[in-house]
């Protein structure tokens, strides 16, 4: 504002000088001269206040209203208003008014085009871009639309000055006086200056507004960039070809432990040592020569700690210098995960080797135990007494139990390691159930149990792994038989069931009238080595792995096992297995692979 004000002030003084010069040359009477000097002093005072208003007004609207006030109060005019052009309505919209007669402004509509309400002095001044003076409004034909108002407010003359923004007329300064002589050449010259000064002030306001708007945007952008840089989970930095750091994110100082002040004194190679330094130097050179490069290196902190990092650098032109914009990612987490994976794989391999070794080492002595007890029981070396036979059979039974344990442990380990192959074949589920039932039937009959098999008439073709299905069924049937002291075991195959919503399947249920399972024990049922009642363990020989294996096999087949039981009444173990249609078969295969 200050330079503009100075210009405005100088121009105004020159204008005042012209007026004074004219006054001297006219040789009026002393009285008339006094009156004119008084009027000029008033105007001069008004002008000074207009300039003050320009200096102090914070906004354009405030300036406009102060100027109107000053012209009325100090300049002695009846009314003043400033109209701002609205390009849409082509109307001069009052932006500020002052003076008693300003009530008139609210009543009148002034336009800028050549309709009747655009033919008055304001419309003419707007269109021509020059000031317009009307000594007698009553006599001015073109002011006829406002005749009533003019008469009512006692206005006689008018002076209208165009206002400009960036050189284009944007509004008018409208001044009214109660006498025809109010706008002599001196007054007009001064008021015209006021209008010009106002126009310059508009430009200054607009420029300031534009600048502050840009500054706000720039500040917002800068804040966003800082937030972005600081929230990236890596270090980001910019340095020039000489290695002076220009910018770095907070993560950089957090990781390295240096302060911002220290950063300004450091060279990029200060963050590396040993062989890394030479490699880094070469890669930095590559970035400046070829545009980009990356490198893995140990980042050295202020405290001397090293952290594995992966750096990428790109050449950019920034602040009129060629710079390297780089980013570094901490690799220690990745290296830790890789290490864990290696350990897990090694431990898996160890487990496999251990299991294979255990199996081998146990089978070798078992070969002797089962082999020689078998030979002795065949009486190949000679006849046995009844007691010897009974005891040898115990040796053989224990040996077989041990062997079953070894096989089950191997089985479950292989299932868990994903090493179990599952076949995808079409077969008759009825036949599979029948085969499993016939294997277990002798065991049930030996225990004096009823053994019923209820199967549909025709074959029921499903797509799954026949051998694994039979393995599950044999296990369930054997369990049912083992844990049923009296009554019977019944196996039922139902078709048209669902494994889960939308997955068609068959349900193979094994019912028994056995000892049953308490509700609280059901969750433990499928865990390895959990024969529920340990006192039963001796009576009901088993490895304790059977149901765990069944459950895992069922999962492999996309099937599931349901259990219903009541203590003392019996249990039902039901296998729901997908029939594996076109669509479902794919699902089942996918699950198997998993």
């Amino acid at each position: 504002m200050t330079p503009i004000l100075t210009i405005v002030g100088l121009v105004s003084l020159v204008a005042l000088g012209v007026v004074v010069f004219q006054l001297r040359g006219e040789r009026r009477t002393a009285r008339a001269r006094n009156a004119e000097i008084e009027a000029l002093e008033r105007l001069h005072d008004a002008l000074r206040r207009v300039h003050q208003a320009m200096a102090w007004s914070a906004s354009r609207d405030e300036l406009l209203s102060r100027v109107c006030d000053v012209l009325v109060e100090r300049g002695g005019f009846a009314a003043t208003w400033i109209g701002w052009h609205d390009p849409e309505t082509r109307r001069l919209v009052p932006a500020a008014t002052a003076g008693e007669a300003s009530g008139m402004v609210e009543k009148i509509a002034v336009h800028t085009d050549d309709r009747p309400s655009g033919q008055g002095p304001s419309g003419r001044a707007f269109r021509s871009g020059r000031f317009e003076i009307v000594r007698d409004l009553m006599a001015d034909d073109r002011s006829s639309p406002w005749l009533d108002e003019i008469r009512r407010w006692g206005i006689v003359s008018a002076a209208v000055f165009p206002l400009r923004l960036h050189g284009e007329v944007c509004g008018t300064l409208n001044i009214y006086a109660p006498s025809p002589d109010a706008f002599g050449p001196r007054e007009v010259a001064l008021l015209d200056e006021v209008a010009r000064d106002l126009s310059r002030a508009f430009d200054a306001f607009a420029e300031r507004e534009q600048r502050s708007h840009s500054e706000v945007i720039a500040a917002r952008e800068a804040a966003l960039v800082t937030h972005l840089l600081d929230s990236v989970p890596g270090v980001i930095y910019v340095y020039d070809a000489k290695g002076h750091f220009l910018r770095w994110n907070r993560r950089f100082t957090e990781v390295t432990g240096y302060t911002d002040a220290e950063m300004r004194t450091l060279h990029p190679l200060d963050f590396f040592r040993g062989e890394d330094r030479a490699r880094l130097e070469a890669r930095i050179a590559t970035v400046f020569e070829e545009g980009s490069a990356s490198v893995e290196a140990d980042f050295v902190t202020k405290g001397g700690e090293t952290i594995p990092y992966f750096f990428t650098g790109n050449r950019v032109d920034f602040q009129r210098t060629t710079c390297l914009v780089g980013m570094g990612i901490d690799l220690s987490e990745r290296e830790r995960i890789e290490e864990e994976l290696r350990e897990a794989e090694a431990s898996d391999r160890m487990k496999s080797v251990f299991l294979a070794t255990m199996s081998h080492e146990l089978r070798t002595p078992l070969n002797s135990i089962l082999g020689f007890s078998g030979i002795l029981l065949q009486e190949l070396p000679g006849p046995l007494t009844g007691e010897q036979r009974r005891q040898l059979e115990m040796v053989r039974a224990s040996g077989r139990h041990l062997l079953a344990m070894i096989n089950d442990v191997l089985d479950i380990s292989r299932i868990e390691a994903g090493g179990l192959e599952v076949h995808d074949e079409r077969f008759d589920a009825v036949e599979a159930v029948r085969r499993a039932a016939e294997i277990v039937r002798p065991l049930a009959e030996a225990g004096d149990l009823d053994f019923e098999v209820e199967l549909p008439e025709g074959p029921v073709e499903i797509r799954s792994d026949r051998r694994r299905l039979e393995q599950i069924l044999i296990n369930l049937l054997t369990n049912a038989t083992k844990f049923t002291p009296e009554g019977g075991v019944r196996v039922v195959l139902d078709v048209g069931m669902e494994v889960s919503p939308g997955v068609p399947g068959v349900r193979i249920a094994v019912h028994d009238t056995g000892i049953g399972i308490a509700t609280e024990d059901l969750p433990k049922l499928f865990q390895p080595f959990r024969q529920l009642d340990s006192t039963l363990t001796r009576r009901h020989e088993g490895t304790g792995l059977g149901l765990a294996i069944c459950n895992r096999l069922a999962e492999l087949l996309g099937a599931r096992i349901e259990v219903e039981s009541e203590v003392g009444e019996g249990s039902t173990f039901a296998l729901r297995i997908p029939t594996g249609g076109d669509r479902v078969g794919e699902v089942a295969e996918g699950e198997v692979e998993a």
Partner: protein, 134 residues
């Protein structure tokens, strides 16, 4: 003596003393002539001398293992079609595949079932015992 000399023996290659004794005993009690070795090298030497009708081969042997032994045997023309049955405590399916790939005719896992062992061997090509074997 003549009959025994004309009858090819069964060769058992097994380093575990008890297991070797078990198999040899079972075969001999069923009337077979048996020769036994506790290493692959000794077994191959015996095979060349005795031209056995079948070899029962343990896999985990000292120095040269059963896989290498069967490959060495198959390299000898006389043994190209000889039944060589792996009898092993290496009981995983992968072990079976490996034994068959190396050249074994069949693969039996330990522990053996004494009641059915002889029947199984006969299915695999073991001839009847010599008339006067007992």
């Amino acid at each position: 003596m003549n009959a025994a000399a004309e009858t090819a023996p069964v060769l058992v290659i097994e380093d575990d003393e008890q297991n070797r004794y078990l198999v040899v005993y079972l075969l001999e009690r069923h009337g077979y002539r048996v020769r036994a070795a506790s290493t692959a090298a000794e077994g191959i030497r015996l095979a060349e001398e005795e031209l056995p009708s079948m070899i029962l081969l343990d896999i985990q042997l000292p120095e040269v293992d059963g896989y290498a032994a069967v490959r060495a045997l198959r390299a000898i023309d006389a043994f190209r079609d000889l039944p060589v049955v792996a009898i092993t405590a290496h009981a995983l399916p992968a072990d079976r595949a490996r034994a068959l790939e190396a050249g074994c005719t069949a693969w039996l896992r330990k522990p053996i079932e004494p009641d059915s062992f002889l029947d199984t061997l006969r299915e695999l090509g073991l001839g009847p015992p010599p008339e006067d074997g007992r």
